[in-house]
């Protein structure tokens, strides 16, 4: 990251993503549409289910099929597992140490062993869900286009309840703790973008794209309203609104746009931790993530209670010459896929817009504003707090979580 400062004025902030390009959209060309969930899962080891889900939705739309009923419910349940796993990882192991003044979760563990273990057991409850329903936590093998290869029995699903209930209680305690943390004083007026679930639930597995300023479009309307740009300093494409600037996706966006869809327990926990209905301090995202973690655990328990194994576990798809779009709420925000397939089932064209590239511009603007307000910090402190500001977004580029080399040029 580079920051240029002259005469107490921040001239420029650039976040460089060094993650070498892997060309997924290129290598998907010529592959069979059934391979989409297996191949795109490998884009991210932390949120493979998000890639699998958005990919399946897009392929299914291309084939003229909407997956509903018990298959969709099972998909949402698997997705809850990923939210739990991913949010717990970020909240306890990557972000909390910043607020408590430790360089890592391992350093934090020495003084706060219970908090560290709570992070691990909560994450384990999510991973157990992924392992039971998906086969494994990293790159699950059970999701497929049209549904699942095998529907787990009720007997297989029952043992998930106890660890989730335990995690629920612990998450409530954690949210209370998060409410006591000192938050840097920093707010911005964001344009939030998230999904709205068609069944009136908190957005996770699919929905229409909505925004603070009243956007309300289906996945296929994305290109009309958003544009991706290639900038010289980063390997991630930047997104912006065609008729505006940056926008934010992820927990804060969902919280602000779908607060009413949270469970009563989650809403109460948010208020008790000092959150308003609207939240514009990005550092408070750690509390918002805690509230979403609570919701995902509750939702998983609800879905397990209502679970009936889908029979058959997948809907048969018939490929045709068509384009399909899919969007879902990855833990870090909306993840959009578009595929053009042909009648043989081969993929002719693929496009994927992940959450981190959509947030990149907002991250740079946060840093710009934050640095401007904290020019008196030493370079070391400035670096740490800037890293923390980046971690507010839980960027899924691992190297962006702890890699930071901050070059401060003070003229």
């Amino acid at each position: 990251m580079s920051v240029r400062i002259r005469d107490r004025e921040v001239l420029d902030v650039q976040l460089r993503i060094y993650e070498p390009p892997r060309f997924f959209e290129g290598i998907l060309r010529g592959r069979h549409y059934t391979e989409v969930p297996d191949i795109t899962a490998r884009i991210c080891g932390i949120c493979p289910v998000a890639y699998q889900t958005s990919g399946c939705l897009a392929v299914e739309q291309a084939c003229g099929v909407t997956v509903d009923g018990p298959i969709r419910e099972l998909r949402r349940l698997v997705y809850c597992g990923e939210w739990i796993e991913s949010h717990a990882l970020h909240l306890y192991l990557l972000h909390a140490p910043d607020f408590l003044g430790y360089e890592s979760a391992i350093h934090m563990a020495a003084d706060h062993p219970a908090l560290f273990e709570r992070g691990l057991t909560t994450r384990k409850a999510g991973n157990k869900l992924l392992i039971t329903l998906g086969g494994r936590a990293e790159h699950p093998i059970n999701p497929r286009t049209g549904g699942f290869y095998r529907a787990p029995s009720r007997a297989e699903v029952e043992p998930l309840v106890e660890p989730l209930q335990h995690a629920l209680d612990e998450t409530l305690e954690t949210i209370t703790l998060l409410g006591t943390l000192a938050m840097p004083d920093f707010e911005r007026d964001y344009e939030f973008v998230a999904l709205r679930d068609d069944d009136g639930r908190y957005p996770i597995d699919r929905g229409r794209i909505i925004s603070t300023s009243g956007l309300d479009i289906p996945a296929e309307g994305f290109d009309e309203h958003f544009v991706e740009e290639h900038v010289a300093h980063s390997n991630a494409l930047h997104s912006r609104l065609r008729d505006g600037g940056s926008y934010m996706v992820g927990p804060m966006a969902r919280y602000n746009l779908a607060f009413d869809m949270l469970s009563p327990l989650a809403r109460d926990a948010a208020r008790a931790a000092g959150l308003e209905r609207s939240c514009r301090n990005p550092f408070q995202s750690i509390i918002v993530r805690g509230v979403e973690l609570l919701y995902a655990i509750e939702e998983a328990l609800r879905l397990i209670e209502a679970y009936e194994p889908p029979d058959p576990p997948a809907i048969a798809l018939e490929p045709r010459d068509a384009v399909g779009y899919g969007v879902s709420e990855a833990p870090r925000g909306i993840l959009w896929h578009r595929y053009q397939i042909d009648a043989s089932g081969a993929i002719r064209d693929a496009r994927i817009v992940p959450p981190t590239s959509q947030n990149q511009r907002a991250i740079e603007e946060d840093l710009h504003g934050f640095v401007a307000g904290h020019l008196d910090l030493s370079d070391d402190d400035l670096q740490w707090q800037c890293e923390q500001a980046i971690r507010n977004y839980d960027p899924c580029i691992s190297c962006a979580t702890h890699f930071l080399k901050l070059d401060v040029e003070r003229d």
Binding site: P21, I27, E35, C44, A110, Y149, R150
Partner: protein
Amino acid sequence: MSATPSKPKLAVWKFSSCDGCQLSLLSCEDELLTLVGQVDIAYFLEASRAVVEGPYDLSLVEGSITTELDAERIHRVRRVSRRLVTIGACATAGGIQGLRNFTDVEDLIAAVYPTREYVATLEQSTAISAHVPVDFELQGCPVNKYQLLEVIRASLANRVAPIPASSVCQECKLRGNNCVMVAHGTPCLGPVTHAGCGALCPSFNRGCYGCFGPMESPNTGALSAWLRKLDLDDVDLVRVYRTFNASAPAFQRESERYGRSA
């Protein structure tokens, strides 16, 4: 946490990858605290902003080499590592991004990025062993976390990790699975794929798709003949061998019998 001299130093390095393999280390929920007590996790950027100076007793390397800078960096990693173990399909066989090795990388760049000159990349995605000597290669996309722990323990104790190089078929037999290929006519790479997943896919009524890469001395020709009987054509056969371990020699050779294009 202070670095105790008596504790061996562990480093985790990332190259081009999805982070899934190093994440499996954080997924060792029940074992992580014990591990932290036994080794000094001296370099692990995914999890910590603190960096302890090398040299390291054990370096775990995730990811493949796809840029000039990384091709230089891996030599520096090797120089500060007493033992170097690759974890996962990217580091061991070039990974899914190794599919570029079968096509023109310029076409892939054009498919993704609007501005050619902003993209720095090598034409090939290569395994770590193509650049520096490697002490052990742990296969899998992603690796099995229990095997990863075993490799760490074995490496630090100077013994050979007991990782069987047999096939997924053996694991199916141990689990008592019906053979999906014999019983249901489902194409399955289990007969040529390295064990380690615990026969996951057949346990979910699907065929193995080879994410652990080739077993030791696989008879791919015989399997391809079987797959043809299940109506797979040349295009299908190229696809099944060219996924996450496409550049592993045994899978690459077999896919090239059926066509160059991916």
